[in-house]
Amino acid sequence: MARAAAPSVRRGKTASTGPPLVSAGLLLLLWWAAARAGVLGDGLVPTPWQTLKAAHAMWADGTLAADLRASLARAGQGFAYGATAGVALGFLTGHRPRVAALVSPVMSFLRPIPAIALVPLITAWFGIGEQAKHLVIAYAVFLAVWLYVHDGVARIPADYRRAARTLGVPAWRRLTEVLLPAAAPSVVTALRHGAGLAFLALVAAELGGAQSGIAYRLQVDGQFLRTDHMFVGIIELGLLGLAADALIALTGRRLIHWSTS
């Protein structure tokens, strides 16, 4: 899609790095002050400085890089499966109310069931390999992505579809050239949410069968009460989520350059 004329339509909507830096700075200051004041309980919250030292040590002995690599691969794969399935089913149900009536209650039933509670079952059926982990992540991502995509597709103005059909546009092109762009903002939001969940689901996915990974490390470090290491892991997760979110949001803004009003 051409982009030439886009800026004029959406001026003032480009992302700037200023405000995010401001909030990051504020959070850091707050954390530092709280840790220093000791209000957070003995040794339960490390100072930013202690955390940085821990991160450095983890970097130096290679665990940080290994964990990052392992978790990124898992989250990425799981996200890819879950998001693909969620988007696909979302388009189907958003477009076909009959299918939605069948699928929607199943999803509402599954949504409150924690992946962690299903881990023993998944172990029994799929073992402890990487595929089982991808499955856990995909499950969490799928449920969230589906709902938003379904909702977005279901709200596409009827006139767009009508126009396409009177113009003799076949089903496949109606999907790619009408439904997809019309629902694109919802899809982007769904994927942003899904990306966060992919990292969140690492906690359930790396519960067993992993020898490296951020959530694996969090759990083992937790056993030994190494709060500085745990903070490194938590911040890693946060930053990964933030990066994935920014990437998707940015890509979304580049793709969805038109205005609807």
Binding site: G41, D42, G43, L44, D61, V119, P120, T123, A124, G127, I128, L207, G208, G209, A210, Q211, Y216, Q219, V220, D221, G222, Q223, F224, L225, R226
Partner: protein
């Protein structure tokens, strides 16, 4: 300043974070027998999923006392946290390596080159090290597979692992699930201790009253084990299976003590944890002695303290 509880009529509230109804049984039998009130205390018993969670509650000041396993306490001590070990409440040696007939493991020596699943960083990993050492093997001789405690059974059933270690509560279910394929190897080389620890908020007189209560409860339970079992079941209110309590209660050796083997265990576990997890702190006698408070137990039951002061 001992015996405050005897002199005042008002009771002192104590909050105890527990995680193990069997290892910490005296805490619950005391409650069932109204022994806390008899010693001038009003007990609030909190229950947590793991000893680590209970320990966190103590560290956060949400509870003055905690009933925790030995390893979380060792981690906290090495991490320089402000806790004191007041006493060991029980000792457990009935560990089992779970395996299947098809894995053909009949002794710990057969573990060489095999896949062993266990929740990494917990004391069953320490138990495995003991099993291997006993068979003349090193940790590097087996392939460790980190699994959640509740994944061991399924992984064994599928053959994803050759053997597994998990907590005693899973033993029976694993036997049932695997049926005739089930095989276990017993291991008594790790005397797991359940500890009473105190956070910074505890004072000696209250601690003494707590230990007096637990000592009395332990003595009473020794006289009438079946009543004690019933008391634990009642107090647990569904948190543990009655069948499990009845079957495993006898595996625990209840004695409120501070003894030499305890220090040795803490030292050994500390050394192990430091070497496998590169923990901070120095696992030497001085470190652990610094975190053991002999005064309350000495005041409550002097003969129970056999640990040398230096």
């Amino acid at each position: 300043s001992t015996g405050a509880a005897d002199r005042t009529t008002a009771t002192t509230p104590v909050t105890i974070a527990g995680s193990d109804y069997l290892g910490g049984a005296p805490v619950y039998t005391a409650a069932q027998d109204k022994r806390w009130a008899a010693n001038g205390l009003t007990s609030h018993l909190q229950s947590f999923a793991t000893g680590r969670d209970a320990l966190n509650a103590v560290l956060g000041g949400q509870a003055e006392y905690g009933v925790v396993g030995d390893l979380p306490a060792v981690s906290a001590i090495l991490g320089g946290r402000d806790i004191k070990v007041l006493a060991a409440l029980s000792s457990f040696t009935d560990w089992r390596l779970l395996t299947t007939t098809s894995a053909r493991i009949t002794s710990f020596a057969d573990l060489k080159g095999r896949k062993v699943g266990l929740p990494e960083g917990t004391n069953v990993q320490y138990a495995l090290t003991g099993m291997l050492t006993e068979a003349g093997l090193k940790p590097a001789d087996v392939t460790l597979v980190n699994l959640a405690p509740n994944q061991i059974t399924a992984s064994l059933a599928r053959g994803d692992i050759d053997a597994g270690l998990t907590f005693p509560s899973f033993y029976d279910a694993t036997g049932t699930t695997l049926g005739t394929k089930y095989r276990e190897l017993r291991y008594a080389g790790y005397p797991f201790r359940t500890l009473l620890i105190a956070g910074p908020g505890a004072n000696t007189s209250t601690s003494t009253a707590v230990l007096r209560t637990l000592t009395a409860a332990t003595a009473a339970a020794a006289k009438d084990p079946s009543a004690a079992r019933k008391a634990v079941i009642t107090q647990a209110a569904g948190a543990v299976q009655p069948a499990f309590v009845n079957r495993h209660f006898a595996s625990y050796d209840y004695d409120v003590t501070l003894d030499r083997p305890l220090l040795d265990l803490l030292l050994d576990e500390g050394t192990w944890a430091k070497s496998t997890q590169k923990l901070p702190g120095t696992p030497d006698r001085a470190t652990f002695l610094n975190h053991i408070d002999r005064a309350p137990l000495t005041a409550a039951a002097a003969t129970a303290v056999t640990l040398p002061a230096k």
